[in-house]
């Protein structure tokens, strides 16, 4: 009986992230438009875009190889799996032992690897720009992410997100400087990874400063749709990661009945709403930075992570 419930919950999570991801993207766009005093597209606009795109035919560059055609699905699959492994509304999922925080980060790394290759495949200059900058950003974001994971695991004694969430709910966490630093660092990494302002502008084309868009410039039709979906899944993933690590309240522990789960889903929705709102506010409030300032930005994140870890030692020692 319990097994079936586990399966159901896991499947629910899989579907939930898949369904919520475009909504979150649309929601953020809407808020940004409102903050700019614009009407903005309706919330369901992303769904419409996706449906339209997958019905269109694919226009493929002459010398595009199989890598170019396979990449979107691999990217989508890895991102989706990663998103499904992060506790959103419930911990102790059936598949959560399959990967801890580091593995999830690495999964996103595989997605990025494929995306960068796809950017190089057609052999255009824009694709090259995108891939090289994306990899440069990643080389700085990943160590920062690992430092944060180090801090968290130092505190919670685990990199298993379920355990982390449960620990964070527990009483003996308290308010810690290093946690705050880790949070800030994680947010910075999340911004960089999701190609948001100030690192990159998701709503742009034909800018020499674009990164993510440059890589997918050659994509069209269903390929583009899948990649867009993967992108919004990634955004969702990071939001729920921040949620489950830093504001884990209301996350259902495994093995409760469905009402509890329903409640925690609602709570999770609220978290997303707040997160999205903050993101939109932040993005409208700040300007995009030069590409080579990104290294300083992420270097700061790395420093924060390291500092958090070391401070934790100190605070432990006393």
């Amino acid at each position: 009986m319990a097994v079936i419930l586990d399966v159901l919950v896991q499947l629910g999570q899989l579907l939930l992230v898949l369904l919520l991801a475009p909504l979150l993207t649309g929601y953020v766009r809407k808020i940004k438009a409102r903050l700019l005093r614009r009407q903005g597209p309706p919330l369901i606009q992303p769904y419409r875009d996706l449906l339209k795109l997958i019905r269109k035919e694919v226009v493929l560059a002459d010398n595009a190889s199989w890598v170019f055609r396979v990449a979107p699905y691999v990217i989508f699959a890895t991102t989706w799996v990663a998103a499904a492994l992060v506790p959103t509304f419930a911990t102790g999922l059936m598949l959560s032992p399959a990967a801890d925080l580091i593995a999830i980060v690495a999964l996103l790394g595989s997605a990025r690897f494929m995306l960068a290759l796809a950017g190089l495949d057609v052999g255009t200059s824009f694709g090259g720009i995108g891939s090289s900058r994306e990899m440069m950003i990643a080389t700085l974001a990943e160590p920062a992410m690992l430092m944060i994971a180090f801090t968290v695991s130092l505190l919670a004694g685990s990199t298993q997100l379920s355990s982390v969430a449960t620990f964070m709910q527990g009483p003996d966490v308290g308010l810690r400087v290093s946690l705050a630093m880790a949070l800030v660092g994680l947010i910075m990494v999340a911004i960089a990874e999701n190609a948001r302002i100030p690192v990159d502008n998701p709503a742009t084309h034909l800018e020499l400063t674009m990164v993510h868009e440059a890589m997918i410039l050659e994509y069209s039709g269903r390929h583009l749709a899948v990649i867009e979906l993967a992108a919004s899944l990634k955004l969702l993933l990071y939001m729920s990661l921040i949620g489950c690590v830093f504001v884990p309240w209301g996350v259902a522990v495994a093995g409760q009945d469905l009402t509890v789960y329903a409640g925690s889903v609602v709570v999770y929705g609220f978290k997303l709403a707040i997160g999205g709102f903050l993101l939109a506010v932040f993005e409208t409030a700040i300007a995009k930075m030069r590409v080579f300032r990104v290294s300083d930005f992420l270097g700061a994140a790395l420093m924060l992570g390291l500092l958090a870890a070391l401070l934790l030692f100190v605070s432990r020692s006393v």
Binding site: I54, E57, V58, L60, A61, D62, N63, A64, W66, V67, Y73, V74, F76, A77, V81, A84, L95, A98, A99, D100, I102, A103, A106, L107, G109, F113, L117, L120, D121, G123, T124, S125, F126, G128, I129, S131, S132, R133, M135, M136, T139, A141, E142, P143, M145, L146, M147, F150, L154, G157, S158, T159, Q160, H205, E218, R222, V291, S295, L302, A309
Partner: protein, 673 residues
């Protein structure tokens, strides 16, 4: 005690050496190539099977054997224990694959007479080093290995640079052997107890032990390519024929690691905590510097060689952690770190050989090693491209491949470091972890560059356009390793279990048995702490991808139209308009290069009206070479000049020397009495 396995292995050695001799005799015959590689393939396979059998079946009993050769009163001792068996597996796996690859690749060899005699000797040397059980045999075979590989590096001695590469290589090998020799001198003591058993039974004082560690680090490190002793590696490895490069990079460096492990963990007594710190620092620096060098490189084989440096760094990080944990008697973590290091040894040997095979295939197909002159090969050589892609993913530590598992284990060991009592290590290890993550990310970037520039995009030269897919032998060797990358990635539990007796022997503890858990999840310490399951991830990703593809193709469109690339409306037909390796690495060079390489960019912009093209010059300098090796060379030169004056004295001058010596000795005598 039954010595069947070790006798079998020694017979394999004899067969290999005989093959080498045979190759000398029949150097002129064309069939020799086939014969030699077939024999080496068979022999290596036999040895591989034996080693695996030892490792899996009865890993506890160490087989020993003594032959009446070598030092007369000592004889040549051989020993087959779990550690030896593990490394024998690596050596002979690489050997077998390289031989299979050589069956195809060797046909294109224009000077087989300079390769065939030394190739079996090289294999024999590496196997013997692992089997050796006394200092003399160890060093003898160690140097034999270096010598054979040197000869193979010199095989193409007419290409410019190769002779210099061979020279520097043999010189560094000499340095390494010398320091290992001295360390054994310390271990053996004044009465020359060179047998490893005697060494184990005679503990050293802490200071002497530290000296031994330093010498071992110098000796093994110079062979493994530890910064700053790595300079020969990116010169020598690419100079050799590609299957030999694969062996040198994938296997010989591992033999060096074996030497370090054998001396430090087996022969040397209990460690001191800061040894771990030392090794960690070297490992971290090596990892990052190696991969940064690789990023700046656009010669495919040199790039791979620099990545060997990086992975050696990762392995040494694991070893350093194991030392640190062992020093404060934390058995479990030590076992974890050691397992991670050994598993990475295996993994790196697999995917590095695979990648060198791929580069060799490209080399034979196009005659080019320079990425800037390649491109678009995925259309001409699809299978090679696929194999290379898998290798790249594996070396970039991407799940679900094997490279990720070992690095993940290393990270888990790093995450256990807060339990260490020493504050120095508490602070050091996280930093090293940061370096490890940095190197992993940089490796991913580097292999996006390597694969993307070489195989993707459009052909940059005519040779790249006319490339042909390589032969079936080479491909089968590559795809065997592709399979291994995947299997070791999704079912790591079996490999970890196979390593457990080795780890047990080295740090007297082992990781929990893995394969018992359902769904082949691996759990380093406890499940609540961390766990990983490559199999599930693999199944999930493939099924999700297939599902998505199926649904979309079925329900929505699957129409495709080919057309010119969009490229924001300005497509440029000229392949030179693509991103090059140099431009791909430019952002990272901007970020790290100025510090590490003194990187300077000069834009040479002609004035308006001047027809000549604008140029961008990039100046990099290898600070290790300029800072360490140049001065040494200078000192030697100056001293030589100084001494050289003595060559041109008059006879009276020489008589003065003689009588001066006489008077000095007499004075000494007078004083002494």
């Amino acid at each position: 005690m039954d010595t069947l396995a070790i006798e079998l292995l020694l017979w394999c050695i004899v067969a290999l050496l005989a093959t080498g001799a045979m190759a000398v005799v029949f150097a002129r015959k064309a069939a020799t190539t086939i014969v030699v590689y077939v024999i080496t393939l068979i022999v290596s396979t036999i040895a591989l099977a034996t080693a695996c059998w030892i490792l899996v079946a009865d890993a506890t009993a160490a087989q020993q054997l003594r032959l009446p050769i070598g030092l007369p009163w000592l004889g040549a001792h051989f020993r087959l224990d779990p550690l030896a068996a593990a490394f024998l597996t690596v050596v002979n796996l690489g050997g077998a694959a390289a031989s299979l690859y050589g069956l195809g690749y060797g046909r294109h060899e224009h000077a087989p007479g300079r390769v065939l005699p030394f190739y079996p000797a090289f294999l024999a040397g590496m196997t013997l080093v692992v089997l050796a059980d006394d200092a003399f045999t160890f060093l003898f075979t160690w140097e034999l290995m270096s010598l054979a590989s040197w000869a193979l590096v010199m095989a193409h001695h007419r290409q410019e640079g190769n002779a210099r590469a061979g020279y520097i290589y043999l010189l560094m090998a000499g340095l390494g052997t010398l320091s290992l020799l001295l360390s054994f001198g310390l271990l053996a003591g004044t009465d020359g107890g060179y047998a490893f058993d005697a060494i184990r039974s005679s503990p050293l004082s802490p200071n002497l032990a530290t000296a031994v560690l330093a010498l071992a680090l110098l000796g093994a490190g110079s062979k493994a390519g530890l910064v700053p002793l790595h300079v020969w590696l990116p010169l020598a490895h690419p100079a050799a024929p590609s299957h030999v490069s694969a062996l040198m990079s994938g296997v010989m460096t591992k033999v060096a690691v074996y030497g370090f492990v054998r001396i430090v963990f087996d022969l040397l007594g209990p460690p001191i905590w800061w040894w771990g710190a030392l090794v960690l620092i070297f490992g971290g620096i090596t990892a990052v510097l190696g991969v940064l060098h690789a990023l700046m490189e656009h010669d495919l084989k040199r790039l791979l060689a620099y990545h060997t440096v990086e992975n050696i760094g990762i392995i040494f990080i694991g070893l350093g952690l194991a030392l640190a944990f062992r020093a404060s008697d934390m058995r479990g973590p030590a076992a974890l770190a050691m397992t991670a290091a050994l598993f990475h040894v295996f993994n790196h040997s697999v995917f590095k050989s695979l990648l060198f095979f791929g580069s060799g295939a490209v080399l034979t197909a196009t005659g080019e090693r320079d990425m800037e002159r390649l491109g678009g090969l995925i259309h001409r050589m699809p299978y090679t491209a696929f194999a290379f892609l898998i290798g790249s993913a594996a070396i970039s530590a991407l799940p679900p491949f094997n490279g990720f598992v070992s690095e993940w284990l290393t990270f888990q060991a790093i995450l256990l470091s807060p339990q260490l009592p020493q504050w120095g290590l508490k602070f050091l290890v996280p930093a090293v972890g940061g370096l490890l993550a940095l190197s992993a990310a940089l490796a991913a970037a580097c292999f996006v560059k390597a694969f993307g520039i070489t195989f993707l995009g459009r052909a940059r030269t005519s040779v790249a356009e006319k490339a042909k897919e390589t032969d079936i032998c080479s491909l089968s060797a590559m795809f065997g390793f592709v399979l291994l990358c995947l299997v070791a990635g999704i079912l790591p539990g079996y490999f970890i279990n196979a390593l457990s007796p080795v780890v047990q022997m080295l740090v007297s503890a082992q990781m929990p048995q893995q394969t018992a858990l359902e769904w082949f999840t691996i759990v380093p310490v406890v499940e609540s702490r961390s766990s990983y399951n490559g199999l599930v991830l693999f199944i999930l990703i493939t099924s999700a991808a297939c599902l998505a593809a199926y649904v979309i193709h079925r329900r929505a469109s699957h129409a495709i139209r080919r057309s010119a690339p969009w490229d924001c409306g300005f497509p440029d037909a000229n392949p030179a308009a693509q991103y090059t390796a140099g431009s791909f690495a430019q952002p990272i060079r901007r970020v790290f290069g100025t510090v590490v390489f003194h990187a300077r960019e000069e834009v040479d912009m002609p004035p308006p009206g001047d027809p000549r093209p604008a140029r961008l010059h990039v100046h990099l300098q290898d600070r290790v070479w300029d800072g360490l090796y140049e001065p040494i060379a200078k000192v030697v030169g100056v001293t030589a000049d100084g001494f050289n004056r003595v060559q041109f004295l008059s006879i009276r001058g020489y008589l003065t020397l003689v009588s001066g010596a006489l008077v000095v000795l007499l004075v000494v005598l007078a004083v002494w009495q």
